[in-house]
Symmetry: C2
Subunit: 187 residues, 2 copies
DNA sequence: TCCTTTGCAATGCGACTGTATTGCAACGAC
DNA sequence: GTCGTTGCAATACAGTCGCATTGCAAAGGA
């Protein structure tokens, strides 16, 4: 085996460049050449690591997903052992919300991907499973295992995220809304 | 003035074709030629009515907005005079939610436009104003003029819409979540 | 009747797209 | 050493993009 290169790492580097392009110029600006330029590599190399553009998109989408999961895990970890349910739920929500500029960029990418996958139903199942899992987890933290409340909270968070990205709500407004909802759920 | 043609109507026809293309193949498939083909007209004609693609997009976006406003108005009208606040709010929410296939298509288009405008901040103010207005209106219907509750309800609705489009929630689930939230707000 | 304005079709242009192909340097196995 | 595999660059190609230009038919006003 000649010339050892960490395949996954290269792919991730390229995916990162893709996300930078998408966050700044929208997903429709994502092309092999743009991504290659952003990554500082040749277009041929991008082609070497992703046989098709769609493969690259799918991989990038997965990177976003994993990265978000990691963030959530870290946030939970940071709370220490046996955190109060409300604090835990709030940490989950604020972690997923696009509150700083970095996660705003991620959010824009995720949003772009969402309408991208709306036409390609292939990736829908994974998405669905993730949400169901999240609802179940949150429900376990709510008084009475409130599944409907958990689903509502998640939807509310998602909507807040959209309004944050769109600039309709400020961060303070969003957090106020979130806390009000937690007041209702943990009453 | 020769050959009188209803300019606005033609533009709306073209915008309709655009939305059909966008709903079915995504916004990145929207091109002058595709839209023209979908509308059953020549590409030259599309160019005749919209000097640039961006002008066409902007117009279509506006059509979506107006159409949604009309739908809301009709739903309110249908409730008759002096409807109970909760019924009115619920009608507003269910009208905006993508519950049937037609409004699902609209929702997909709106979602695509959202990430489209995320990069073009020009249209943001109009969006912001619409949301603020809606929050104010709903707050007036909630007990105590609850502004935060109204903002939360709107965000929840938006999130439900996304999950409906993504297939994560079924219609029944979404409606259950909505009604539970109304229970909390009108308690 | 001519003439100007308008509606619309057709074509061309340069830029850009995704992908296939080709070539070559670098390295490990033998 | 040599051989084959791999990493990567460069180029070619057919197609599509948005947009500009041109031409012409139709319809009032003069």
């Amino acid at each position: 085996m000649p010339r050892k290169v960490d395949h996954r790492e290269r792919r991730t580097q390229i995916a990162d460049a893709l996300m930078r392009v998408a966050a700044e110029h929208g997903l429709e600006a994502v092309s092999l050449r743009h991504v290659a330029a952003e990554a500082g590599v040749s277009a041929g190399m991008v082609q070497h690591y992703f046989r098709t553009k769609d493969e690259m998109m799918t991989f990038a989408l997965d990177v976003v997903r994993v990265r978000s999961e990691v963030r959530v895990g870290a946030a939970v970890q940071a709370l220490g052992p046996d955190p109060a349910p409300r604090r835990l739920v709030r940490a989950l929500m604020t972690t997923l919300l696009p509150l700083d500029e970095e996660s705003r960029a991620d959010g824009r990418v995720a949003l772009a991907f969402l309408s991208y996958t709306a036409v390609r139903p292939a990736t829908a199942p994974a998405l669905r499973e993730g949400t169901t899992q999240m609802v179940g987890f949150i429900a376990g933290l709510l008084p009475g295992g409130d599944e409907v409340g958990a689903a509502g909270l998640l939807a509310l968070m998602e909507g807040l995220g959209m309004y944050l990205l769109g600039g309709q709500y400020t961060e303070e407004q969003a957090l106020r809304v979130l806390d009000a909802q937690l007041d209702l759920l943990f009453r």
